[in-house]
Symmetry: C2
Subunit: 331 residues, 2 copies
């Protein structure tokens, strides 16, 4: 099948066209309208087979992740997603693969009320680049650079699940060692953790709920230890993390000893939770906002002066075993 017909066949149908899309897929450019009182947020992320996902990952899961990692970036600045462009490289035209990939992408676009507005299909090693665009009021942008000493440090959800899920897929963790559990319970744990790897949830609602009250924000793609340092560098500050406060899911806690769970939470990537700093005066506002958005959140420490990242466990210095994950399965 030719390049053009791939785009036309798989990526031009939109069940719910947005009013702000003047021209969508099928012309030289998409033409859209940004509301006058909103700034435009744009982010681009590429997933490469064998680097960002295992080569045997289902097309549906690849579609999910490719979209989620981009929406997660929009969430981190507090933007509401609007449109995506898709550049996809395929070794060969595989209609089953394209059917499943495009169906999932279309379903998720409908869920998030976003439109696919453009695409480029090329022949090459499998990789997916999505550019996502969204809106954020210019006065409420959450950046990496506003953290101040004294601000409290939070994360949404639980950390380390996606990393443990990947290790289950790679055979480095094995739920059948949980001999006190029956096989159905073991499967539930394995499936929860691997789904967290395959299908991260972008914190879109939380991002927009938080943007007015927080001082900085980042999404956790490369692991807390690595990502918090982006906030520290951009905000010219240090941070203190209470390791014992890190939110660990029941599944991860059941599977590995506490120290290993903390290591996943600190160093494994792909959680796509938000990490943000909050002026202390805003703590009640935070509870109201995130409870309304039905998102769990945990205070894991505090922004401090200087430029050091301090880890303690029940008040004692803590040395993590791992290191920030840089999207490579072979390291």
């Amino acid at each position: 099948m030719k390049e053009f017909s791939i785009i036309e066949k798989y990526f031009t149908s939109q069940s719910q066209p947005r009013q702000d899309v003047i021209i969508g897929v099928g012309d030289d450019c998409a033409i859209t309208k940004v509301p006058a009182n909103q700034a435009l947020a744009t982010t681009t992320d590429t997933l490469v087979s064998g680097v960002h996902f295992l080569p045997d990952t289902a097309p549906s899961d690849i579609a999910h992740k490719a979209l989620a990692v981009n929406l997660s970036d929009l969430a981190a600045v507090g933007a509401v997603p609007a449109w995506i462009s898709l550049a996809i490289s395929l070794e060969r035209t595989d209609e089953d693969w394209l059917d499943e990939f495009s169906d999932t992408l279309a379903r998720l676009c409908e869920y998030y009320s976003i439109n696919l507005i453009g695409g480029d299909t090329t022949r090459g090693p499998l990789s997916i680049t999505i550019t996502a665009q969204g809106f954020v009021p210019p006065e409420s942008i959450a950046t990496r650079s506003g953290a101040k000493p004294g601000d409290l440090l939070y994360v949404t959800g639980t950390l380390g699940d996606a990393g443990a899920g990947l290790d289950i897929l790679l055979g480095k963790l094995d739920c059948s060692t949980l001999t006190t559990l029956n096989s159905q319970q073991q499967d539930t744990i394995a499936s929860y953790l691997t789904e967290r790897h395959y299908k991260p949830t972008p914190r879109v609602l939380a991002g927009t709920a938080l943007r007015r009250m927080i001082s900085s924000c980042i999404d956790l793609s490369d692991g807390l230890l690595g990502d918090i340092q982006h906030i520290m560098r951009a905000s010219k500050c240090g941070a203190h993390i209470n390791v014992e406060s890190l939110p660990i899911s029941p599944a991860l806690a059941a599977l590995v000893p506490a120290e290993q769970a903390f290591d996943y939470a600190l160093s494994a990537g792909d959680d796509y939770e938000l990490c943000f700093s909050l002026p202390q005066k805003n703590t009640s506002e935070l509870e109201l906002a995130l409870n309304a958005a039905n998102v769990n959140f945990t205070c894991i420490g505090q922004i401090v002066g200087g430029n050091m990242l301090i880890l303690t466990h029940n008040g004692h210095p803590y040395q993590p075993a791992g290191h920030s994950f840089e999207h490579q399965f072979d390291s």
Copy 2:
């Protein structure tokens, strides 16, 4: 070198920051402002090594082409370019390659007064995806769908040069067979044509100059025969091309017989000239506009009723030898 430091080292310096960029490279998203009276034009194009460019292409030429093909799409809808996002996959960190690629990209961004606002660097087979954004007044968008029977059909510049340049690089054409020319003249021809392959000129000024007066427009990336059919399909019309009118450069005319030159002009891709239809009443306005933009243009035929593409040469039916080029060197 890690993913983060590649982005920071090579792609964050902007010599001329635009006032409409609130946050550029280095946060989760770029944040920008679109003027209230303008629509946003967005386009995404990927270049894959071995598919869209020869594997030994210089990084500077890859940067040029990756930007040009995207700006050409903006030109086709009449948009003024504003910002680009870059997703680049590299097999390994090659600092010389990155130096040369990023230098050229930065120089071209300055030339076009655009800013690089975001990027993602991943490890993988060499490919470059650029998403370009620009502005166009909503009342002046040039699309593929407005052509009407009777409208005249035009192209900018000359056609077929890039295809012949590629064939010189592949050893399928040889300028040393031009025995009536000395070696310096042969080199001049080879170098003109290969530069047209490596460094297409996006018709940005022409695109904005034309947008008020034309009825449809497309940029010629895949060859005139293929691309004109996009206008025909979108506009529900036919087209008649007078093959003898196709603009052939002196270099191409010197190198190959007329019929072969027409075949390049009709079927080879990568010219990145604009092809547009014009209501006949607007011909004087067209001359004024494109002469002011210093862009050559040629009437090559007419939009007709029906849905057929008719080719004639001096009034006789014409059968081209080639077929539309679909970005594959191996076909």
